[in-house]
């Protein structure tokens, strides 16, 4: 089985994240890049499926040159090889452009299964997997907390507001996973050493027949009009519990008409 796991490098959420004043895109240079947390679950799920069913796991990343750090981490966890889509023309791409570019690469490299984290911690749109399914004409098996494959049939448990739906489809398919679907492994020393020798193919947009006028900031379907640091919340009233803390909190709730 040919499994492609999509991984994104995102700014470490523990650092202060900013938009650039010039083009209103994420300032990636100002912060440390880490693997998007939910994508680690995607990598783990890909590895588990490979272990159970055989095949190969390819890491696919779109991002600037430094995203190779993220690729190496996924390879160190055990993925077999990687494709890195990187091109200055991609800078500022929104979800529509990103899904288009990724779909073009996926069509080129082929897949039985595409796995992603259900959202990234930077943009948090949560739309990429659905958009990829739409663009690829592949079944959308998203928000999975469990994935089972038997032959060419794939069944997932899709989380819903009321619990979960059991959803079935035929491969090839697009799967997104939620937190806690598994317990992502840490790269071993051996894995880290082996990752250095694994093949990483670098693609520019022309290599994947990605039209330059469909990607990047100028092509974006939506734009940031303005932005500002959130004003600090007005300092609240903080009291020390002297045995009447609950009662005082109730007074506050009453003053705000909550009770």
């Amino acid at each position: 089985m040919n499994i492609v796991v999509c991984v994104k490098q995102v700014p470490d959420t523990a650092t202060e994240r900013k938009l650039r004043s010039d083009d209103k895109t994420l300032d990636r240079d100002a912060v440390d890049g880490v693997v998007n947390e939910l994508d680690e679950y995607a990598v783990e799920e890909a590895l588990k499926l490979k272990e159970a069913h055989g095949g190969e796991v390819t890491v696919l990343t779109m991002g600037p040159g430094r995203a190779t750090e993220t690729i190496r981490k996924a390879l160190a966890m055990g993925a077999d090889k990687a494709v890195h889509l990187t091109d200055d023309a991609l800078h500022g791409s929104d979800a529509l452009s990103t899904s288009y570019a990724m779909a073009q690469v996926l069509k080129k490299i082929g897949f039985d299964l595409v796995i992603l984290g259900s959202e990234s911690t930077d943009a948090r749109t949560g739309v990429l997997a659905a958009m990829l399914a739409e663009r690829l004409g592949a079944p959308q098996l998203t928000l999975a907390k469990k994935v089972d494959i038997e032959g060419s049939e794939i069944v997932i448990q899709r989380i819903t507001d009321y619990g979960f739906d059991k959803v079935a489809a035929q491969l090839p398919a697009v799967v997104s996973v939620v937190e806690k679907i598994n317990d992502p492994r840490y790269p071993s020393f051996k894995g880290i050493m082996a990752a250095k020798k694994k093949p990483v193919e670098t693609l520019a947009i022309a290599d994947a027949e990605i039209a330059a006028d469909q990607v990047g900031l100028d092509a974006a379907w939506s734009e940031v009009v303005e932005f500002a640091a959130a004003p600090p919340r007005a300092a609240g009233t903080i009291v020390k519990d002297e045995g009447d803390g609950g009662s005082k909190a109730a007074d506050f709730l009453a003053s705000k008409k909550f009770i």
Binding site: T125, A133, Q140, S222, A229, T237, I259
Partner: protein
């Protein structure tokens, strides 16, 4: 006035509150047209939609709209966008709502904005990003604006619309039938409101200390008619089910009132609750970062403070 399509969120034939909010928002920008996807619409539901301003109610009642994951709803909306040329499409920013919006954006070659907490003239949307650290105003510049709006962004106001019903039939493509729902498993959530939609959320964290002790949190939630949430520390420890986790990798809530008990307020948590209108924190550590967000904070042991608060709430109701 141009139509604004609002995808109705419904469960067991009842319209969810977020839809009434979206109709209210749509009314400030155009003529709201509710879109009911799937079987089960009732006269009461139609009356409710009209009561909150729906001029039109498009009903696509075929079973197959809900027999497959997400794609049929996107095809239904795409057909309506083509037929009715609405000024915009609004969906609730739930996980599924955002997926519908995403597919619709691809189908109609339109821009999409997710997790709006406000929407104004020209469909300029307000968003709060990076864990609440930055406020952004953005807009769609190609196609029909598609905006996923967070629950509790607007207070629903009843101003009656005509509520003219129109049946819609959709012929689904083969690829929209690719992911079939075999079974819906409903997990017991009791009488509490849904976490992402609730007007009040009471959450517990590491300070709660044990699974059993979450009954303190539940007690306060029930007194207030609130939903229960939990921090990642609490769900990781197995004290409360993971689906109730509020935070960066869990649910995002934006209630009128958020009460955090025994939660320090790390970025992981703040990213999921920072747009709450009013925040109350109870924590024994006076240095806990949650107090920087709190409109009202009590430094103290939640085992004392929360039960007393519960008792007071019950008494004063």
């Amino acid at each position: 006035m141009s139509e604004i399509l609002v995808l109705v969120e419904h469960v067991d034939g009842e319209v969810k509150k977020v839809t009434l909010e979206l109709l209210t928002l749509a009314r400030s920008l155009g003529a709201p047209a509710a879109v009911w996807a799937g079987p089960g619409i009732t006269d009461a539901a139609k009356a409710r939609l009209a009561e909150y301003g729906a001029e039109k109610i498009y009903v696509a009642g075929a079973d197959e709209i809900v027999d497959y994951v997400v794609a049929p709803k996107a095809e239904l909306l795409a057909q309506l966008v083509a037929d009715k040329s609405p000024a915009a499409v609004l969906v609730a920013a739930t996980t599924e709502g955002k997926e519908v919006a995403g597919r619709l954006a691809v189908k109609t070659d339109s821009g999409v904005i997710t997790d709006a907490v406000g929407l104004g003239e020209g469909f300029v949307a307000d968003q709060s990003i990076f864990g609440g650290g930055v406020n952004v105003r953005s807009k769609v510049r190609k196609g029909t604006p598609i905006v996923a709006v967070r629950p509790n962004s607007t207070a629903p106001e009843a101003v009656a619309g005509a509520g003219t019903e129109e049946q819609v039939s959709v012929t689904l493509t083969e690829s929209a039938r690719a992911a079939r729902v075999l079974e819906r498993v409903k997990q017991e959530k009791g009488a509490r409101p849904e976490l992402t939609e609730a007007a009040i959320v009471v959450s517990g964290g590491r300070g709660v200390g044990s699974a059993e002790n979450f009954s303190i949190i539940e007690g306060l939630a029930d007194a207030l008619g609130a939903a229960v949430g939990a921090s990642r520390a609490a769900t990781d420890a197995g004290w409360y089910p993971h689906q109730f986790q509020v935070g960066q990798t869990g649910k995002t809530v934006s209630p009128q009132l958020y009460i955090a008990a025994g939660i320090s307020g790390a970025i992981q948590h703040r990213a999921g609750m920072q747009t709450a209108k009013t925040i109350v924190a109870i924590n024994k550590d006076p240095e806990a970062p949650i107090f920087e967000l709190a409109d009202y904070g009590v430094v103290g042991d939640l085992n004392q403070v929360v039960p007393q608060l519960t008792e007071e709430v019950t008494k004063r109701k």
